[in-house]
Amino acid sequence: MRPEDWLTQFIEIVAALAAAPIFLGWVSQCRAWLQNRRAPSLWLPYRNIRKLFHKEAVIAQNASRLFRLAPYVVFGTMVLAAAIIPSMGTRLPLVVSADAIALVGLFATARVFMALAAMDIGTAFGTLGARREMMVGFLAEPALLMVIFVASLLSASTALPAITEHLATQTLGLDPALAFTAVAFTLVLLAENARIPVDNPSTHLELTMIHEAMLLEYSARHLALMEWTTALKLFNYACIGFALFIPWGVATGHIGPLGLAVAIPTLAVKLALAGGGLALIETLCAKLRVMRAPEFLATAYLFAVLGLLVHVMLGARG
């Protein structure tokens, strides 16, 4: 590994940490505009995190060590995930630590810790949220794995940077297999990031919450980390989407300063468009009944399988 690669790696992690809250702020802004409301500041998620870090943490008396530990574990897994997703360059030294399947495992680890922490205090809402989250999770993970399998089959690798490099160097053209999987991935993204129509990130109704219900007992720095994690997770999912479906603009090969000079603005443009698209979906949809979430995720799985079938059929012909 060359020193520049480590530099790319470092910049990528820092960029993910810095850009994630802004991306969340951007989605909120777009949502507000689409609903004819005055938009909140782009920096609002940042201010919120800063405010929370300055507050005194209040923890339930019966909280175990797991409850205190969970925010750090969850945050850590998301940072590691950000490190192995090729958002700017594909030569990432940390990539050897985990491939795309392990990435799904990382998300699962975060989910398990969050659910355990939510149940730790023993309130009805935490348990309710954890149970719903696990229901969404165990349906979303297979769909996500299936999406990754299609991409892996196309590029004969399960390492995300390798997939990206392979796809980015293909001639520009619509691969029907990838088109189906892109739909599946979008559905998984909505479900996994607690967005409408599966969950409502801006609700104050504790009985309808999934993700937010798990955070109800957290405060101050723990909550700040959890919120940052939420933003980071959305950012990571967006970057996985870019890596699989619109990899163009990512610096392939050993990166120089020029490569980054192209990669960073490209990423910004992609994020801006993705944020707008996400806000549009969220404005057009109402929230599904909780019991309809399995149908929603079954659809995602179906699309991913269709993608796989299309790939197999086209592959057999070619």
Binding site: A124, F125, I196, H204, A286
Partner: protein, 495 residues
């Protein structure tokens, strides 16, 4: 003895139209309730008088709503000390809505019914015995009175299996502030201001009901213009609240676009009301003898234009709500209150009209100026959230038509009349169809322009128990939406 006999025995009371009252003994109390129920009548309200520690002059009152009008029964009570059988026969078996009213009457006036449920309702402090549901996989979710959002306090105890609700029990009374006690400390000619503040979103309905009762017992006839103005205020209040609810219902279904649009419309209306009448929520628009404000022809026209525009836009938004598959899926079938159940529970007002109960005091027991206006009743039979949304949309249109007529055709003349304090011991009641349902205010004058007893009743008393039934079998995540579709008063019932 059929219902008609009780009606004939009763004497006309002052205040609301078709209002009669009669004193009864304990046996008649129960028999009259059975006869009213047999004739298809409903329990409108039940309240006690007398202090908890007072040993004399206690009484219990029941107001029934029937085709004939409002019949108020009074049962004087001789308090039996140390007797556990109760001071008067309970009505719970005949009218389920009586249960909580009787418990509240005991908390306030110390008169106890013979019904078995004697848990305190308004009086908090001791542990409350919730009904427990046992069984495999059943667990309890306790929600409130402090919620994750800034909303009214109410405690809801769900017994669920997975996501499915087996039972809901409500616990209210967290906003109890001693309104009835406060009434007795105020001069009778000034207490309309308190009446307007019993339940802030129904300020017009409450203050009008109070003034109707007061004007009735003091023999004051208000000018025609005042009556028309009051009706216009009432319809403006209805439109504003329906707009707010429709937005909130969209938001609770995760459709924030609806909230943004309806909030905008409501705000436009409130600003127009403020420009024309000087107040946004009309808390001090109605006074005994008339109204505080008059409406100039230009202001009336401007207000009418805004109402028309707002209601036209609401019609466009209705098309979006109706055609949006996600919103429709959430609304349809959620929280169904079947018409048969609505009859059994004696539900009134908007909730009743969404469950096939065609009761609207503006049509059934009209006071001026509704006697001259053809109000069309809006009735839906679905009983689900979608039906309650549809009733709101249709009532918006009806109110818009009424307002157009009212604002541009106000009769000439003054808008306020002099009024004298009524004589000691006179008793009357006012009944006004607010946006939620009928608001009844029973008023008894004391000596020297004081109030002996004033009881405000909100139709939410009948609505709250209905939610407990409507939620059964639904998923717990749908509760906020169902609750919002009822949108019942907290302050109005906690008193």
């Amino acid at each position: 003895m059929p219902m008609r006999r009780w009606w004939d025995r009763a004497q006309a009371l002052a205040g609301a139209p078709s209002l009669r009252g009669v004193g009864v003994c304990a046996e008649d109390w129960l028999q009259a309730a059975r006869d009213v129920a047999a004739a298809g009548g409903r329990l409108l309200s039940l309240w006690g008088s007398g202090e908890p520690r007072d040993t004399e002059s206690a009484a219990i009152y029941a107001a029934y709503l029937s085709d004939l009008g409002v019949l108020i029964l009074q049962l004087p009570i001789e308090r039996k000390t140390g007797d556990e059988s109760g001071d008067y026969p309970g009505l719970e078996e005949i009218f389920p809505a009586a249960s909580r009213l009787q418990r509240a009457a005991f908390d306030i006036s110390g008169v106890r019914s013979s019904d078995p449920d004697r848990r305190p309702w308004l009086r908090h402090g001791k542990d409350y015995d919730f009904v427990r549901v046992d069984g495999e996989g059943v667990h309890e979710i306790a929600v409130g009175p402090v919620h994750a959002g800034t909303i009214e306090p109410g405690h809801f105890r769900f017994s669920v299996v997975g996501e499915k609700v087996l039972r809901l029990e409500e616990r209210l009374g967290y906003t109890h502030k001693g309104v009835e006690q406060r009434f007795t400390e105020l001069p009778i000619l000034e207490a309309h201001r308190l009446a307007a503040r019993v339940c802030g979103d129904s300020a017009v309905a409450y203050s009008w009901a109070y003034c109707q009762a007061l004007e009735g017992i003091s023999g004051c006839v208000i000018p025609a213009r005042a009556a028309w103005l009051r009706a216009a205020f009432l319809e403006l209040e209805r439109v504003a609240n329906h707009l707010g609810d429709l937005g909130a219902l969209g938001n609770d279904a995760g459709f924030a676009f609806g909230l943004a649009q309806f909030s905008r419309l409501k705000e436009e209306l409130l600003r127009a009301v403020s420009a024309a009448l000087g107040q946004r929520y009309l808390l001090d628009a109605i006074v005994p003898g008339g109204t505080t404000v008059d409406l100039s022809p230009e202001a009336g026209r401007a207000l009418a234009n805004t109402v028309r525009k707002v209601c036209e836009e609401a019609t466009e938004l209705r098309a979006i709500y109706d055609e949006h598959s996600g919103v429709r899926d959430r609304f349809t079938g959620a929280g169904r209150l079947a018409p048969e159940l609505a009859i059994r529970l004696g539900v009134l007002g908007l909730v009743g009209r969404a469950s096939g109960q065609p009761l609207d005091a503006r049509v059934d027991l009209p006071c001026a100026p509704y006697t001259e206006l053809a109000v069309s009743k809006v009735v839906q039979s679905g009983g689900d959230v979608a039906a309650r949304v549809a009733v709101r949309f249709e009532e918006l249109a009806v109110s818009a038509r009424l307002l157009e007529r009212m604002l541009e055709g106000l009769p000439p003349g003054g808008h306020v009349e002099n009024i004298e304090a009524p004589t000691d011991g006179t008793f009357g009641a006012g009944l006004i169809e607010g946006w939620r349902g009928p608001v009844l205010i029973a008023l008894e004058a004391g000596p020297g322009g004081s109030i002996r007893r004033c009881h405000p009743h909100d139709s939410s008393w009948q609505g709250w128990p209905a939610i407990e039934h409507a939620i059964i079998g639904n998923i717990v995540a749908d509760f906020p939406l169902i609750n919002k579709s009822f949108n019942l008063a907290y302050s109005g019932v906690d008193l």
